[in-house]
Symmetry: C2
Subunit: 321 residues, 2 copies
């Protein structure tokens, strides 16, 4: 906490474990409130050290129960755990219900757990950006491990996998056919595969199929996905699942992949912020600036197509210095 004395009051309160300050900052991030910027700026140097574990997978595979079980295990081990449930299905959601379920399972007096459900109406890129900032707030608030669970929408899953340090894809035994269609992209989507509901028939076969695929494929950046089997009813396999996550986190450190990954993520974050800002500026000017308005008029009249108009603007008005 070397920089602590220079922190603005809201950032200092978050550092000191003030839950209301944390919740307020998260809400500010979610609402794109400019008040969040100085807090994020002050806390950024204190972040980037803890595992950010993504849990994705189809609807109905039991991600929430699995998350509860993992949180239970980690609390027993004295770790402070935060979980963000990203609910992309709003306004048709079941996400806040999932959130409530996890909230109910934890002891209300346990301040080593924090749960937040994020419903987002924007683009998938926007959800990921907010989630990343909320994860930074949680890390600054002293949580040791941060989970991000998604409700199972492809776009958001991909976006979340891009911000996670370890990505767990949860499947169930009877998803055999889907696993076949995953073959091609198998190694791009997960560091750990979990066959959940492994008390159901076919679990062993599913795990063996996945293992075979993992053995045949070229490891991504030197990492071969681990395959584990869990059941939250028995329960079984939860420590093994966590061990697989930790193995990947250790691989990130020993291989240098963590640094490379973090650099790529930060580069994507900077370019994403810049391109959103340029987009907003262009939209504003398309109505206010006479030359741009005239160009839009010509597109509306279908004399110029949108791609050519964008090319022209890029060349004449927005060329990168």
């Amino acid at each position: 906490m070397s920089g602590a004395p220079r922190l603005p009051p809201a950032a200092r309160a978050i550092r000191q474990g003030d839950r209301r300050a944390l919740a307020r900052a998260i809400t500010a991030v979610e609402n794109d409130d400019p008040a969040a910027a100085p807090v994020m700026r002050a806390l950024f140097p204190l972040t980037g050290r803890v595992p950010l574990v993504g849990l994705t997978g189809p609807l109905g595979v039991g991600k929430s129960s699995l998350l509860s079980a993992l949180i239970g295990l980690l609390r027993e081990r004295g770790q402070r755990v935060a979980a963000i449930a990203v609910d992309p299905s709003s306004p048709f959601s079941g996400g806040s219900v999932l959130g409530d379920r996890i909230r109910l399972e934890r002891r209300p007096d346990d301040d080593g757990v924090f749960f937040r459900s994020m419903a987002s109406r924007g683009e998938s890129g926007g959800v990921a950006a907010s989630t990343r900032e909320v994860a930074r707030l949680l890390e600054a608030a002293g949580f040791d491990i941060i989970f991000v669970e998604t409700v199972g929408s492809g776009q958001v899953d991909v976006a979340i996998r891009e911000i996670a340090t370890t990505s767990v894809v949860v499947l169930v035994p009877h998803l055999g056919d889907e696993v076949q269609t995953l073959k091609a992209g198998l190694f791009e989507i997960a560091d750990v595969f979990d066959v959940n509901k492994s008390d159901l028939p076919g679990a062993e076969l599913a795990a063996r199929d996945l293992t075979e695929l993992a053995t045949l494929g070229t490891p991504r950046g030197g990492w071969r996905p681990r395959i584990v089997r869990t059941s939250t009813t028995t329960p079984s396999g939860i420590p093994e699942l966590w061990e697989a996550v930790l193995a990947h986190e250790q691989f990130l450190d020993s291989s240098g992949a963590r640094q490379r990954g973090e650099r790529a993520r930060l580069a994507a974050e900077i370019s994403g912020r810049l391109s959103s800002r340029v987009g907003r500026e262009v939209r504003r000017r398309l109505e206010l600036d006479a030359e741009l308005r005239e160009l839009l008029d010509r597109v509306v009249a279908r004399e110029v197509d949108p791609a050519s108009a964008a090319d022209r603007l890029y060349r004449d008005r927005f060329r990168v210095k």
Copy 2:
């Protein structure tokens, strides 16, 4: 077809009803293949005149059966109909299965129907952009009505509603609670609400609730959402649903809303294209340009936060002329 003689061969083939040329162009659009650009440019002046009807709603409300029924009705009336199923859940999808179902239901010799399933791995904005281009290809190929059905992911639903001329939200009777949570945003999400499976108990109540909400709210741009009830098993209500869509399309013309909407959509398309391009360019330069690389190094070292880095780049390297 005034511009026809000047069309490039691929565009001319699409105009003349060549299905293979159409399929190739769609694939090129999906793959971001630069070969698509001249075709899209040539066909753009021929587009923007037909209804683009979005069908969105939660999973399991029967959107695919409804789409089949609508296509059946419109074919009886001699209309040429194309449908795009946007499957955002890839790689965990059920979308291509939906696609196959609809394909099977149409007569294989009917060239007045075209169906295409689009699985997208990119951002929701990217899916919407591709869908809009595919819709233009379909219009240029002579289809009179274009449907876009989504599998029920919030992000993509919103994106599709933004490109549709008429947006139909499909619900079922037992979604009463969800309708309550929709209240606030009710008028932003649909031009037509359809209570499908209206043979189930509660349909009348659900429709009445929606009607009441629609009556109480302020109409969006002068349009008060229509509420209809359908069943694809009976079947019933399909002509009434289509009538509600047409009523909205007529409203768009008589009120001037079509022109305003198209202008806003084209402005968003231009700014979206420009901001993606800027984003790609910045990502490239963050590794190649010494000054930008140094800035990224400082962000990686956590001396500068990503928001400040993006602000600096915007100020110093992108000042808009």
